[in-house]
């Protein structure tokens, strides 16, 4: 190989993924890490790791100088950028070449060209690749855009030319909404990509997102590796991807594959790339954009083709010939991937942060998990909320789907809320089961009757109570025979567990050191049996095996955030339980105070009220940016703003007091 040490300019699961293939090829691997990632699990997957400092991405993984310096320090002769960050930054690729460091990716020109949607589209039209009718001109004045919009017709899409991943993208259904969409897309694009150039496209409704994986070497050989269907998207963020696509035919695959190869060839492409298309209901397909990097969802292609895409990226970058011919590419069975995000799918998909207390990954035939999580790691607002990818292969679509579903049921990330239950609901949904998902399915039809948050079962409540009891008993230095013992008639230990909005007064009686009767009742006099729990092994954390009174056995995963907060993950449930029995009246009162606190760590983007303003409950007080999302923070009560303690630009921690409101009716006369 032309290099023997590669620096992976990325983090998380993709850094771990790249390291795996690089090591298999006999390469030394170098990780980089920001200040926020000092405890991250991807570091251990590489031979060495270089600290690049910084909390924000701009100060770390996006800082080209620091990455290049890390190459010099470590002696890495190649850089694999992964996805995101510097992966599609032509300037960075150029600087690598200048520094005689191999950039594992396409030529600078290809990146630059595909990095601008407008330019890319102009080139694709030229190359004869089918494109969605639209406007991708240089004149960006509102008047010109308005004019072209009218010509294209509604509904249409406004997209950031430099964009990707759904940012700076707006669907406009009528002329009335255009101005607002232009304004907000521009602002988001400027913030995210440093360019506010927009393109307009006719919105192809009820289309599928089907993308074709291509691989090219530096010797003019280009092949495609079949398609991926990524139609299950929420707000343009892919949620579930699969290969192949359920409505694909041989001829359509050949046509799309040909178009993709053509697109790559027309720009002198090299390495792994993805050509994204919209596949309309009528079977027509349109070029959307080309991603000049490894994709998040590349594993599904790997599982059906048997090829290691990352290894080929590295080999091609080292000048090797791609020895796989188009004829040799065959698709075996079906693969499906689910993206596990740190977000609350049942509360507006609010990003979740916190410390990972414990993780458990599924195992089994055809299961692959790409991840870099470990207990003790912080999930911060600084990076993308994707925690891991769970991928399943099966001989046919339904087998792959069921395997993925069960793998997700068995997975557990404790301490940080995830979209696991939402993914399960998608995988069980008749539309998805039938292979009929289109890009508007989740945001449209599904959200009319959105999946509900799974509730903890009675047995799970009982188990939670038992685990509290066992942990508390274990905390005391007692002779085993004295634990749980009452010399007179037994007394139940009272506990009051809360999990989200529900509060259960429960009582626990140890029948033996591993059998517990749990009943429900506010006081000792009136109790009603809930469940009998037999712990099959001692302990109150980790994998808990237990049986209920009928001998029905099951396992859940348990981890403690503090001695008073227990996180449980079961097949369909994840959540935390807290004992509120001993809360002070102020804590248990639960009446909303006029203190508006930051719901998570993030940056204040805007403050929408001033002292003296009269506000209604639910009215937005400020906007906070966290995990790439802009969120409104609502007023907890009706009242009058007394004090505003934050200003735009301020980085806040969770529970930072932001606005103080005097409750209505109590303001000084």
């Amino acid at each position: 190989m032309a290099f023997e040490k590669v620096l992976i300019a990325n983090r998380g699961e993709i850094a771990a993924r790249i390291a795996r293939s690089a090591k298999a090829l006999g390469l030394r691997t170098v990780a980089v890490y920001s200040e926020a990632d000092a405890g991250a699990a991807h570091l251990a997957t590489c031979d060495e790791a270089v600290a690049i400092g910084g909390l924000s991405t701009a100060e770390s993984y996006l800082d080209q100088e620091k990455i290049l310096e890390a190459c010099r320090v470590s002696g890495a002769q190649a850089v694999h950028p992964g996805y995101g960050f510097l992966a599609e930054n032509a300037d960075f690729a150029r600087r690598c070449h200048d520094a005689r460091i191999v950039f594992v990716g396409p030529p600078v020109e290809a990146i630059a060209l595909m990095g601008n949607k407008a330019e890319a589209k102009r080139r694709m039209v030229q190359a004869g690749v089918p494109c969605v009718p639209g406007y991708q001109g240089h004149d960006q004045s509102d008047a010109v855009l308005r004019e072209h919009a009218a010509e294209i017709g509604y509904p249409l899409m406004v997209k950031a030319a430099a964009g990707g991943g759904g940012r700076g993208m707006r669907l406009v259904t009528s002329a009335a909404g255009l101005d607002a969409a232009l304004q907000s897309a521009r602002s988001e694009a400027r913030n995210a990509f440093g360019s506010d150039e927009l393109i307009l496209e006719r919105a192809v409704l009820h289309a599928r997102h089907v993308e074709v994986q291509v691989m090219a070497d530096g010797h003019g050989h280009v092949i495609h590796l079949g398609e991926r269907d990524c139609s299950a998207q929420r707000r343009h963020q892919k949620v579930i991807e699969e290969a192949p696509c359920s409505v694909m035919t041989e001829s359509l695959r050949a046509a799309m594959g040909h178009a993709a190869v053509q697109a790559a060839q027309s720009i002198g492409y090299m390495g792994a790339g993805t050509v994204e298309f919209l596949l309309a209901e009528d079977g027509q397909f349109y070029f959307l954009e080309m991603n000049t990097r490894i994709q998040v969802e590349h594993p599904v292609t790997e599982l059906v083709t048997g090829l290691d895409l990352v290894a080929w990226q590295l080999r091609v970058a080292a000048g090797e010939k791609l020895t796989v011919s188009q004829e040799q590419v065959t698709l075996q069975g079906w693969a499906m991937e689910a993206r596990l995000y740190a977000e609350d799918p049942f509360d507006g998909f609010v990003p979740q942060t916190g410390t990972v207390l414990d993780v458990r990954w599924p195992q089994g035939e055809g299961i692959r998990v790409d991840q870099a999580l470990a207990a003790g790691m912080a999930v911060t607002p600084y990076y993308d909320p994707m925690l891991a990818k769970v991928i399943a292969w099966g001989p046919d679509r339904d087998a792959a789907r069921r395997r993925l579903l069960h793998a997700l049921e068995d997975a557990a990330v404790l301490g940080v809320g995830t979209n696991r239950a939402f993914l399960q609901a998608l995988l069980r949904h008749p539309v998805f089961v039938a292979g009929k998902a289109t890009t508007d399915w989740i945001d449209g039809q599904l959200m009319l009757d959105p999946p509900r948050r799974p509730e903890a079962s009675e047995v799970l409540w009982a188990l939670a109570a038992v685990l509290f009891h066992v942990r508390r008993a274990a905390a005391l230095p007692l002779a085993p025979g004295l634990r749980y013992w009452c010399s007179a008639l037994d007394m139940d230990a009272p506990i009051k567990l809360s999990c989200r909005e529900r509060i259960e007064p429960l009582r626990i009686r140890a029948v033996s050191p591993n059998v517990f009767q749990v009943s429900r009742g506010e006081q000792c006099d009136a109790v009603q049996e809930v469940a009998t729990i037999r712990l099959l092994a001692p302990g109150h954390a980790g994998v808990i095996s237990f049986a209920d009174g009928a001998g029905h056995r099951n396992t859940v995963h348990a981890a403690w955030e503090t001695s008073e907060v227990l996180h449980l993950a079961a097949t369909g449930f994840e959540g935390s339980f807290r004992d509120v029995l001993m809360l002070s009246p102020a804590q248990r009162g639960g009446t909303a105070s006029g203190h508006c606190m930051a719901p998570m760590a993030g940056k204040i983007l805007a403050v929408k009220v001033e002292p003296g303003a009269r506000v209604k409950k639910g009215q937005a007080l400020c906007i906070i940016e966290a995990m790439k999302m802009e969120m409104e923070v609502p007023s907890p009560i009706d009242g009058v703003v007394q004090e505003v303690l934050v200003q735009p630009g301020l980085q806040v921690k969770p529970r930072t007091l932001m606005v103080r409101i005097e409750p209505a009716g109590q303001e000084a006369a």
């Binding site: 004295l482 634990r483 013992w485 010399s487 008639l489 007394m491 002070s584 009246p585």
Partner: protein, 537 residues
């Protein structure tokens, strides 16, 4: 390594089965009485709900650490003293006392069982006993107070006078360096007001907790002043104006939270490490219900009992060939060394001297003593008298009385005559005294008493040249038998506070491990006494 004991009890035998059934029936009787008390108290739930209070037993349940042991004491005190009908009496003495853990601290709890009607709530005998234990075993004391108020029609002068001991003890506890926390859930009127007054820490419940030397009626009677309860002695007043209360709780639940918080803040902690590994007995302690005959007249080897209590069922048998009626064993229980003293029948002169010597040896090595009472007393007759029974018995009583180590007594069969004294009965102030439900206690057997009486009466009649009518004599004898027998059983003794409670025999090892650890902790704790007790200035 000492050889373990080899039991000769056949646990598959018919005798064993019958004995076990009999004992379990007796245990069930105790449990059903305890259940009756709890049900009686819980009947007040609507009243408590209306006042937004929680039931007394619930207060205790919430106060205690989860999973920690709770040694509840004297659960059947007062049995048949409120009401002679055994099916109607509500024992318990109107209070819940026990040794448990609060915020990781072992302490003794005294809770007014205010759900019980006033009639079944005699004076503070249990509370005073709890204070003695607190002082002796250096256990912080928590009072959960809700006085029902004295019924003026039941006034007895001596109760008033002796009732003062409660406050005397509180002063002594404070001075000795044993913290006392009182949580006032309800009324503390007149004398009761000194419970918070004498406590180191007072928590009062807003709206419900009250303390005044004289309530509004007495103030009216004494001075003519129309005073309202809250300004006279409400919790808020005491927390803000008089300074009697350190903490103001919003309600009962909050008061329990504050009590736990105060206990945690004392950092009382533990002063001695738990012993390391302790072997379980080779013979299951559960068998204690079947290995002994219920009838104390049938003798058995006390080692069969010890084998189901001691670690590894092993010990060093002291002088097994001398004074065989007295079984003296050095053993460990739950890792704590102790000296067992048990009876294999009436105490002989040799048995008495052996016992006295063993007590002194245990004092020499600072080894706590455990008495397993099962004796009908010291032997009588010419031989024993000539053998110095009085002198040797006296030495034994003297050794027991003056022993410098913790003494724990179990009446597991019979505790008769001076045997009760020599085997560390209640008057000898053992640290703890428990009874099995089959236990009997008497100065002598009813039959012997009756026969003694009839012989004396007949002799006296004869001297006066009269003949005793056999019918009358039989009636007289029966009267004596009844008188003695009525006072002999375990419930009678526990009703009068002559023990710290009846325990399930199967719990004996647990109880002993627990109280030995209490004694060890007390011995290992350095105290910081002061001269006058802590004053609320």
């Amino acid at each position: 390594m000492m050889e373990p004991f080899e039991s000769t009890v056949d646990v598959t035998s018919e005798t064993y089965r019958r004995q076990r059934e009999g004992m379990l029936d007796l245990v069930a009787q105790v449990r059903s009485l305890e259940a009756r008390v709890r049900a009686a108290s819980a009947k007040a739930r609507p009243k408590f709900d209306a006042r937004q209070q929680i039931l007394p037993r619930e207060r205790v349940a919430r106060l205690l650490d989860h999973g920690a042991p709770f040694l509840e004491l004297a659960t059947l005190a007062g049995y048949r003293q409120d009401e002679d009908d055994p099916d109607k009496t509500i024992p318990g003495g109107g209070s819940i006392i026990g040794i448990g853990y609060v915020s990781g601290v072992r302490c003794i709890i005294v809770a007014s069982d205010s759900g019980i009607t006033a009639a079944a709530r005699p004076g503070g005998q249990k509370a005073v006993r709890a204070q003695h234990i607190a002082l002796q075993s250096r256990l912080p004391l928590i009072n959960l107070v809700e006085s029902g108020g004295a019924n003026l029609r039941d006034y007895q002068m001596e109760h008033f006078v002796y009732g003062g001991e409660m406050f005397y003890n509180m002063a002594r506890l404070s001075a000795a360096g044993v913290p006392v926390i009182s949580t006032v859930h309800g009324n503390c009127t007149a004398g009761g007001a000194y419970i918070p007054g004498m406590s180191d820490y007072v928590i009062m419940v807003r709206g419900r907790g009250k303390a005044f030397l004289a309530g509004p009626p007495l103030v009216k009677a004494a001075t003519g002043e129309d005073a309202d309860e809250q300004s006279l002695g409400g919790a808020e007043m005491h927390a803000t104006i008089s300074g009697l209360a350190e903490y103001l709780a919003e309600d009962d639940a909050d008061a329990i939270r504050l009590t736990r918080e105060v206990m945690a803040s004392l950092d009382w902690g533990r002063s001695v490490a738990e012993p390391g590994h302790a072997d379980e007995p080779l013979y299951d302690p559960d068998e204690l219900c079947g290995v002994v005959p219920l009838d104390y007249r049938r003798p058995y080897d006390m080692r069969e009992v010890a084998a189901r209590i001691a670690d590894g069922s092993r010990w060093s048998d002291f002088k097994p060939l001398y004074g065989a009626d007295m079984v003296c064993l050095r053993a460990k229980v739950g890792g704590y060394a102790c000296g067992f003293i048990g009876n294999n029948g009436p105490i002989t002169p040799n048995g008495a001297t052996k016992c006295a010597q063993f007590i002194q040896l245990c004092c020499q090595t600072n080894t706590p003593l455990v008495f397993l009472q099962n004796t009908t007393g010291y032997v009588v007759g010419t031989d024993p008298e000539q053998g110095g029974m009085i002198k040797h018995g006296s030495k034994m009583i003297q050794a027991v009385s003056n022993a410098t180590v913790p003494r724990i007594t179990f009446n597991i069969g019979a505790s008769f005559g001076a045997g009760n004294y020599g085997m560390c009965g209640r008057a000898y102030k053992p640290h703890f005294l428990f009874a099995w439900p089959n236990a009997r206690m008497n100065v002598m057997g009813g039959e012997q008493a009756a026969t003694t009486m009839s012989i004396v009466v007949e002799a006296s009649m004869k001297r006066r040249g009269m003949e005793m009518d056999p019918g009358m004599l039989a009636a007289m004898k029966q009267e004596i038998v009844d008188l003695f027998n009525r006072q002999e059983d375990a419930l009678y003794a526990t009703a009068r506070g002559l023990d710290d409670g009846i325990i399930d025999p199967r719990d004996t090892r647990r109880v002993l491990t627990y109280v030995l650890s209490i004694c060890a902790e007390a011995a290992g704790r350095s105290m910081h006494p002061n001269t006058f007790g802590v004053a609320r200035l």
